[in-house]
Symmetry: C2
Subunit: 153 residues, 2 copies
């Protein structure tokens, strides 16, 4: 991860669909060089993929929420099973496994409040390992798609 790698990563975070030649020009190397760097970054697992960012409303996901979930017993089996269950639900956007008073925080979205409610009471609360959950509606979500590298510790 030298300065060149960082510059390439920054460009791909900003716009993953620009041409390799554009990237090479912006970071100041030959296209063959940046191509090889990108190949190595993927191989080393630094770059995990490239994804289009889609407006939620276009996917019929007008309402979003964070759901804090407590499960019992707190064993690996229960945690892994619940994690896999949650991740596979279509309404779930992302699953956080947490330390602290909540065991999971789940970022979900649905067509509207009615569907969200139905999802919570029909799907989520079915699970026997859940001993409690708390849902908070998201008014607005600002996501940074190009987090900068922090200085080395």
């Amino acid at each position: 991860m030298d300065e060149l790698d960082s510059a390439i990563v920054r460009e791909l975070q900003r716009d993953a669909r620009q041409s390799n030649r554009d990237i090479a020009r912006k970071v100041g190397v030959a296209p063959s060089t940046s191509l090889e760097r990108i190949r190595l970054l993927r191989e080393r697992g630094v770059i995990r993929g490239y994804h289009a960012d889609i407006a939620p409303s276009a996917l019929n996901r007008g309402v979003q929420a964070l759901v804090s979930v407590q499960v019992r017993p707190l064993s690996r089996g229960v945690i892994d099973a619940f994690k896999a269950f949650a991740a596979q639900l279509p309404e779930v956007l992302s699953v956080f496994v947490m330390a602290g008073s909540d065991d999971f925080v789940i970022h979900v979205s649905a067509q509207d409040n009615e569907h969200l409610h139905a999802f919570l009471v029909d799907r989520l609360s079915q699970r026997k390992e859940i001993v409690g959950f708390r849902t908070s509606i998201i008014f607005q979500h600002l996501a940074k798609h190009d987090p900068a590298p922090l200085p080395a510790p």
Copy 2:
């Protein structure tokens, strides 16, 4: 947003860096057609961008947390100002503006626990409008990068 648009969006969510010809072949149209569709999807704001997914550790972000924040007074000015402040901090990955007992949930990451703590007490808690916040460490974060469209309501 017909079936063709959905198929194209799905492909770009899965891999935003594949060639337009590949996408066209997979969804069963001519490359010129899929190119035009993609152009329109961007123009309509359905596709908001393309971003590389980078391993957090490669950005020196070994520890992540969710911070629930309460601010007062709950006026638009205070909310907008705090939102802008939070979004601009390098440690912040994303900002949720919430309904319910917490006003914000902030997804942050830092090099290690020490830096995280320093960030919380030196940067975040400086803000006068904050009347309380609660930090929960994230053990694991599973993100779905290709949420499927939900059935129309």
